[in-house]
């Protein structure tokens, strides 16, 4: 009995400390991981819209550079899919991908063929099909050999300007809502709040980490692999602009940052995460295949598969080690229901 009581005391003490640690961790994640990413996204998108006003030529280097920088900022924040990004379908308006049935090129081709006047005003552009908005639509306008040369050049120019303004407006709204409203909700869980307890906040952050890893493994990496008999290199993300591998790199960097903050810098678990992330990151850096076109050959395919398995291993680490530590290690229905 005494032994049981002693064991209970040992168990409860760290729990009280853990509560303080949890609050500090959430504050760190919100202030140093989340807010800077959405600020950066809004700034770079605003810059992109400005550049597009100056030069809307699809091949113009300043436009492509600004596009790449803004897209980078989105990918680095793309795992944070809750709250302001989900309001009014903003995340979808920025990133309509994967587009399994090719809705994006179809809608863009229709707009260009019809010279639809909706492309003249950014506020109205928010009403076009969501497939014709955001970074992936812009990639077609700037890099796709057919779409980027289709129809009337003046109209296409207007389309590029309007689409970038639309992106700028969406990202500004996300950043504003995070700063003015949602950060406070996460930092102050309350029984009548969006988050009723610290545990629910931890669960949200944990879910961002695990679903972010899942998306990178299953969609960014596995999807272009297709099957061994039928590799699908043109299903790689943003291959037209040569950004497929870069997106994996950016997302892993972002998820690594989040994992370390959640595990606690300097902890054994944090170093386990660093090791696990480094496994995929170093292999990706050595891959030298920006569009994952190598999936079509056995050798290249294997190398990408190894990276994907490395990401799956990070997921396992998060599920088996980080989840229980945060007290969010619920059964598989709560994290993965249907």
């Amino acid at each position: 009995m005494i032994r049981i009581l002693a064991a209970l005391t040992i168990l409860t003490l760290p729990t009280a400390l853990a509560a303080q640690d949890d609050a500090a961790m959430v504050e760190d994640v919100v202030n140093s991981h989340i807010l800077p990413r959405f600020e950066m996204l809004a700034e770079r998108s605003d810059h992109l819209a400005d550049i597009a006003q100056e030069t809307c030529e699809a091949t113009a280097p300043p436009l492509r550079t600004a596009y790449g920088e803004a897209f980078d900022a989105w990918v680095a924040a793309s795992h944070l899919r809750f709250g302001p990004t989900e309001q009014d379908d903003r995340a979808f308006a920025l990133a309509f991908w994967p587009d399994s049935r090719g809705a994006t090129p179809k809608r863009l081709a229709e707009l260009i063929a019809d010279q639809d006047p909706i492309a003249n005003i950014a506020e109205e552009y928010a009403d076009v099909s969501i497939a014709a908005r955001g970074f992936y639509a812009l990639e077609f306008l700037l890099y796709d050999p057919a779409i980027s040369t289709m129809g009337d050049a003046t109209y296409r120019c207007q389309l590029v300007r309007t689409a970038t303004q639309d992106i700028a407006a969406t990202t500004a709204a996300i950043s504003r809502d995070w700063h003015e409203d949602y950060a406070a909700r996460m930092l102050n869980p309350a029984p009548d709040g969006t988050y009723r307890s610290e545990n629910e906040v931890l669960r949200e952050l944990f879910k961002s980490l695990t679903t972010g890893l899942e998306f990178t493994a299953d969609t960014r990496l596995s999807r272009p692999m297709g099957s061994f008999d039928r590799p699908r290199p043109t299903r790689a993300e943003a291959w037209r602009s040569g950004r497929s591998a870069r997106h994996v790199e950016l997302s892993l960097d972002a998820l690594n940052d989040l994992a370390i903050r959640m595990a606690g810098e300097g902890t054994d678990l944090a170093s386990e995460f660093n090791t696990a992330f480094a496994y995929s990151q170093t292999r990706l850096a050595r891959l030298d295949d920006p569009t994952f076109s190598g999936v079509s050959a056995a050798q290249g395919r294997l190398r990408i598969e190894v990276i994907e398995q490395g990401v799956q291993a990070i997921r396992t680490l998060a599920r088996d080690e980080l989840g229980p530590r945060l007290g969010v290690a619920a059964g598989f229905n709560s994290m993965d229901g249907d």
């Binding site: 709250g83 297709g226 229905n333």
Partner: protein, 363 residues
Amino acid sequence: MHTGRRHFVGGLLAAGLIPKPTWADVGSPAYLAAAALPDGRYALCGIGAALDVLFQIPLPGRGHAAAARPTRPEAVAFARRPGTFAVVIDCLTGRATATLTAPEGRHFYGHGAFSADGNWLFTTENDFEAGQGRIGVWDVAAGYVRVAEWSSGGVGPHDIQRLPGTDMLVVANGGIDTHPDSGRVKLNIPTMAPNLAYITDGTVQQVAALPPALHKNSIRHMAISTRGQVAFAMQWQGGEDVVALLGTHRRGASSPVLMNAPAEALRAMRGYVGSVAFAPDDRRVAVTSPRGGLVQVYDTQAGHLIESHAVEDASGVAHARGGFAVTSGLGSFHRIGAVPESRQGSGRYTWDNHLIAITPDSA
């Protein structure tokens, strides 16, 4: 036809050695549920009314729901979406007797239903290149042969059930478009439009939809009372607070009725219901939320929430004497809404999504 059936049932019956087996011969399982095992394998289990596991049959992958064949102790366990297998199980011998594979270009959603006479099986499927829901029709007597395919009346059909005493099927078209090449990624949240579709013999007889403001409330699962009232549970895909997670509908009524609950109680469910069931009284309905760790019970006549129970990782729910039986992903069984309420361990089983009540020989 007769030859096929005889062949399917097996030599024992054909030889007339024993009478045609019924559900009562199988140590009377009251429920079926898919589970994950500690070693990472998956199984379908038969569970008794006392909430004890009677048998366990291996599955080739993660299961979801199952359908019990009326008139005979046979069940079909379905792969979780986007899986393509379904396993026919002889609950008398505890063996798999056949495997169904979704046709090229289709995958299962995890649910199915039998016709009243048990001769046809209907499965919810995704025609993923078209992004349209389908109902696969299988000839049971011929050995589960795929014979036809119907429109489900929407996108992303999930649960499918039959109105008792009829061959009217009800399909929960969840509205969410997915494509297996992008796993479970939701492709059409901004434009999704869920509905309940009533189908007989390949013809959509009625489609009941939610008001436009609720178009992001994915109608995913259903429970049907013995009198044919459909209770449907939803999963909210919108950003803001959800206004309802449960509704009822009766075939012929113009629009569904949404059940009321305090905003607080809905928020506690995290916008998500995993399973839904009627109590034996045909009036109370229980909904589970693994994300909220809650089971909530509604009075469908009064039209509002009456009680909430904390059950961590609550997953399957089905009717039980006086109330409900609930499973959890942490491996426990619960009795709720009845006296006495109880909780018991089930040991090594991690229960998945659903607890399917077997209604013996009902049509």
